[in-house]
């Protein structure tokens, strides 16, 4: 789902970096409001490490295998700090494994990070209205991938109309991932709810 180098137009790349830098500043500033950032740095780092490792897991579907995305789960667990976490994760994926290009990091972080932020809001809202957290987790996991896929398509098309069909194909390729991520995120949320509910954004306001 990560866009490689050489695909996007200068305008899209520039816009991608600009938005990502702004969102990084905003989310870190937001994070600093209620927590000590010195304490958060090791926390986000080690957690990002865990998500990074988890995203290396292959799940085989038929003849192919897919990587986990986990941006929905990231959003649910880390809240607004999911954005810097995804930034770090994608930088390391690009640098260490060449998953996604270096020039396109800005855009890729937006594609993964904005859905994570949206899903965080959805989870909190959904939980306060009494939706079963497991179902909510499933919805959030799928929804994050869905939004990412749509954003991916939009980015591709806006870089050039030559990419229209490629964009549809890429978005369609994400449908099985959507299902897998949904089930998976649902079960992680169920697990956390039972074992460590304080890792979920529930009752924090009360």
């Amino acid at each position: 789902m990560h866009i490689s180098d050489g695909v996007l137009s200068p305008a899209v790349i520039t816009a991608g970096w600009a938005i990502t830098v702004l969102l990084l500043l905003a989310t870190l500033w937001w994070g600093k409001r209620d927590v000590d950032i010195a304490e958060e740095i090791p926390k986000i780092s080690v957690m990002t490490g865990a998500f990074f490792v988890a995203s290396l897991i292959h799940v085989s579907i038929g003849p192919t295998s897919v990587h986990l995305v986990l941006n929905g789960l990231l959003g649910v667990v880390l809240g607004t700090l999911a954005y810097p976490a995804i930034f770090i994760g994608l930088v390391l994926q690009a640098l260490l494994f060449q998953h996604g290009g270096i020039t396109s990091i800005g855009v890729n972080v937006i594609n993964m990070g904005i859905p994570a932020l949206i899903v965080y809001g959805v989870f909190k809202k959904g939980y306060s209205t009494g939706i079963n957290p497991s179902i909510l987790g499933t919805i959030c996991g799928s929804m994050a991938v869905l939004i990412s896929a749509i954003m991916l398509a939009i980015v591709l098309i806006s870089t050039g109309e030559e990419f229209t069909e490629v964009a549809y194909a890429a978005a369609a390729a994400n449908i099985p991932i959507m299902i897998i991520e949904g089930i998976l995120t649902g079960s992680v949320v169920t697990f956390l709810l039972k074992v460590r509910p304080e890792l979920l954004p529930i009752n924090k306001e009360k």
């Binding site: 169920t190 039972k194 074992v195 460590r196």
Partner: protein, 307 residues
Amino acid sequence: MKEAICVKGLTYSYPDGTPALGDINITINEGEKIVIIGPNGAGKTTFFLHLNGTLKSQDNRILIKGKDINGMSNSERIRKVGIVFQDPDDQLFMPTIFDDVAFGPINMGMPEEEVKERVKKALSKVGLEGFEERVPHNLSYGQKKRAALAAVLSMEPEILILDEPTANLDPKSRADFIKVINNLNKEGITTMIAMHDVNALPDLADRVYVLNKGIIAEGSPMEIFSDWDLLKDNNLEAPDIFKFFKVLGCFGYNCEDLPLSLDEAVEVLARTIEKENGHVHLHIHEHTHAEVKDVMHSYNHHTTWHE
């Protein structure tokens, strides 16, 4: 006696090419109590992972009860050999103890009733009756260790392998754990244990292998601990009690079999005294000091930092 495990010329290198195991040959009979000792990084865990087929060996190197492990079905494989790893946190990943202990039986495709039966039985064997609904993550370390054991026992393996079962346990939990393992062995399960804890070793071993990439030595605990050079070359040590009886020898104490544990020491001492008509003399003769020095020196590790 029937062979439980037979390994013929097993060799393994890590994916990056570093050799991990070289030409390992061992034969273990049913019901034996084996301990494997060796320095940190000797390849014990890698070896164990071969024994239940989690790591695949080349061509028929590993026979479990005479049958090639690579040719076994998933459920046969795990019914034959169960491995309890060192860190219980790596093995308990379910929301409840029940789920963790039921995991193996479920993977074996058992019907629900039998799974429940087995969970109950396994938990009672390790003294965790009624812990089904508890969250593994919230247990004490000693309880987690036992839960991890139960999660393997529920598969009712014929061969049980344990990696450092006593590490990080307080003395009581350690004594308890050793007792459980011995009970299982008495029930007929072949046990194979890797451990650093030489003072607990005599309780858990009929026979000892020294592993350091390859099999360096094999023998009774007595034979192994008597071989000073072997111990030194492999960063190993003998139990304190054993060493102390070696020292007693320098003071004129004469006993044929040296004890390895406190329990044995008491027996041996009583026997020796009785044999010598109720009296044993300890005295300092002209060579005593030199001999003591010699014994103590043999067992002392030189501090050479660079590994």
